[in-house]
């Protein structure tokens, strides 16, 4: 009972603090902008912990955050091994191959408007399909190890990347193209010096979408078969054993890896497309 009261009091207090902070004169400054979501996240964790303790929820249904934290600290080597297997070997290699292939294909079909008119709608269509369903097939073809996971990731990121790059290559304006023509720039020069740089915001948009897709693909593909390590493998087996603290630990790692990956690509984007209005804000 005391835990439930504590949860309610903490919630109300934190919320009032947030309301006060977000209406205070400092609401535009970065410490406050960082503090408000942090307080909200912390509140969720505290309320979660208090509710689980107060209502005596069994650990096989919802473990409290402290138990998950202890589990993470206890099983760092396992988590690291799973991370390397799923993220570094599966997701990252698939991401590099898939995105690279998408960009290259877009550049290859760049000189053929006919192919573009055909590939763009088909690519858009395929990008909306549940490609993750190819996972069992690719696991059959490439075996249980990371190669099949990388193949699923390639299949997932290729079309979003292709569509975004094709759109990006069309982003240079008529006037800019004319300018290149007056300098008698060749096709290759125009591509390297004008059109690819102009396409960068679109390419990075595709790269950012693909970060999440890559991690999802690598994890879900492991549900269809994997060696005895990997984040998806750990999640599906530990769920079967009702060791939910380990499942949550893996999910925490996946969340961390996903946002760090996204953040990294976004940071590179800021460096590459420093000239774009959305980055100058």
């Amino acid at each position: 009972m005391i835990w439930l009261v504590f949860a309610a009091v903490f919630w109300v207090a934190a919320w009032r603090l947030n309301v006060w902070l977000s209406n205070s004169p400092w609401r535009g400054t970065w410490p406050v902008r960082l503090a408000v979501p942090a307080i909200f996240g912390l509140t969720l964790l505290v309320v979660w912990e208090a509710l689980v303790r107060g209502l005596a929820v069994p650990g096989v249904i919802l473990p409290p955050p402290t138990a998950i934290g202890v589990r993470i600290a206890d099983s760092l080597p396992i988590l690291w091994g799973d991370f390397v297997q799923t993220f570094v070997k599966g997701a990252l290699s698939g991401y590099v191959i898939g995105c690279g292939a998408g960009i290259l294909t877009a550049i290859l079909i760049d000189r053929s408007p006919f192919l573009q008119r055909g590939l763009l709608p088909v690519g858009n269509f395929i990008a909306a399909l549940p490609i993750i369903g190819t996972a069992p097939i690719l696991v059959m073809w490439f075996g249980f190890d990371w190669q099949s996971k990388a193949a699923v990731v390639v299949a997932m990121v290729f079309f979003p990347m292709l569509v975004n790059t094709v759109q990006g290559l069309a982003a240079a304006t008529e006037m800019q193209l004319d300018q290149m023509k007056t300098w008698s720039a060749s096709y290759g020069q125009t591509l390297m010096k004008l059109r690819l740089p102009a396409a960068m915001p679109f390419i990075f948009n595709g790269l950012k979408i693909s970060t999440t897709l890559a991690l999802i693909g690598a994890i879900v593909a492991e549900f269809f078969g994997s060696p005895i390590r990997g984040m998806g493998f750990r999640i599906s087996t530990e769920v079967g054993r009702l060791a939910l603290d380990m499942v949550w630990a893996e999910i925490a790692v996946a969340a961390l890896a996903g946002s760090a990956f996204y953040g990294l690509v976004a940071a590179v984007e800021r460096g590459v497309t420093f000239w774009h209005p959305s980055q100058r804000g």
Partner: protein, 292 residues
């Protein structure tokens, strides 16, 4: 639109040709093995013919998938067994109902949260960063846990899958709708203030209508995500019902034709759902005078 029909057809034909070529290449080794075991020589045309008609090919040829698809949908419907357990219509319906229920819940909650975020600064500052961050994390990984935990407290069937679908469609709708509800610019908002419009009037006459294009865009993303969620939600319960179960059962028993037909059925379902929303979008925007 008209002049892109030919290029699209060409690309589709090229994909089919590649598919047939890949089928011959991938299935050839099995044919050659069989022939070697039987001590026979096989000619090229025999190899090609055999790779198109294997029982468990590595890659079934398109017409095999098409035949299986017809056999398990239209063919069964003609026999009056459209909802038997072997019919893809039955499995598709299981998946579709979870998708639609989850999509409706996720979209509804997403719109409500977006309205809260737009009208409450504290909510905006506390929730919005998390909603955006949630786009970068693989939330699909929680799916098996939700299924098993809800199973253990006695909730089975449609609801757990619908919950997964709901939270997958929830975040895209929140992010899209916040953008949409904020799309009226300062001048438009000022105009309504000079009319001394109440906040409710501002919402219904300005913010809501201008958010509609954004709503439809996020609905398209959301419905595709919902379908993926429902399919993945069918995996951990051990291949009972639904398109995801067909995929898993097919991969257990090496029934590649069954996997491919379930996959194509899922693709058709996704295409129809996204297409329907696109159609609704075109009609709505036209009637609202916002069509481009």
């Amino acid at each position: 639109m008209r002049n892109s029909v030919l290029p699209i057809l060409t690309v589709i034909l090229a994909i089919l040709a590649l598919w047939y070529g890949a089928a011959v290449l991938l299935n050839r080794s099995w044919t050659l093995d069989q022939a070697a075991r039987a001590g026979q020589e096989v000619s090229l045309s025999q190899i090609v013919a055999d790779t198109m008609a294997q029982e468990r090919p590595k890659l079934p040829a398109p017409h095999q998938v098409g035949a299986e698809l017809w056999k398990t949908t239209g063919g069964m419907a003609l026999k009056g067994r459209a909802f038997s357990k072997r019919s893809l219509i039955y499995h598709g319906w299981i998946t579709l109902s979870a998708t639609l229920l989850g999509f409706a819940i996720g979209t509804g909650l997403g719109i409500l949260l977006a309205i809260g975020i737009v009208h409450n600064r504290a909510m905006n500052m506390s929730v919005m960063p998390w909603a955006i961050a949630s786009q970068t994390i693989p939330i699909l990984a929680i799916a098996p846990m939700i299924i098993v935990v809800l199973n253990s407290i006695g909730v089975t069937g449609l609801i757990p899958k619908a919950i997964i679908s709901a939270y997958l469609s929830f975040f895209p709708v929140v992010v899209g709708m916040v953008k949409g509800l904020r799309s009226p610019d300062a001048m438009e908002l000022d105009l309504l203030r000079t009319y001394s419009a109440s906040p409710a009037q501002t919402f219904w006459k300005l913010r809501w209508p201008s958010s509609v294009p954004y709503l439809f865009t996020s609905l398209k993303i959301g419905v595709a995500a919902s379908l993926v969620g429902a399919i993945v939600g069918e995996l951990p319960t051990g291949a009972v019902r639904g398109l995801g179960a067909r995929l898993l059962a097919g991969s257990y028993y090496g029934q590649t034709v069954q996997i491919w037909s379930a996959l194509i059925a899922a693709a058709i379902l996704a295409a129809v759902l996204v297409g329907l929303i696109g159609l609704a979008q075109r009609i709505t925007l036209k009637r609202m005078g916002m069509a481009r």
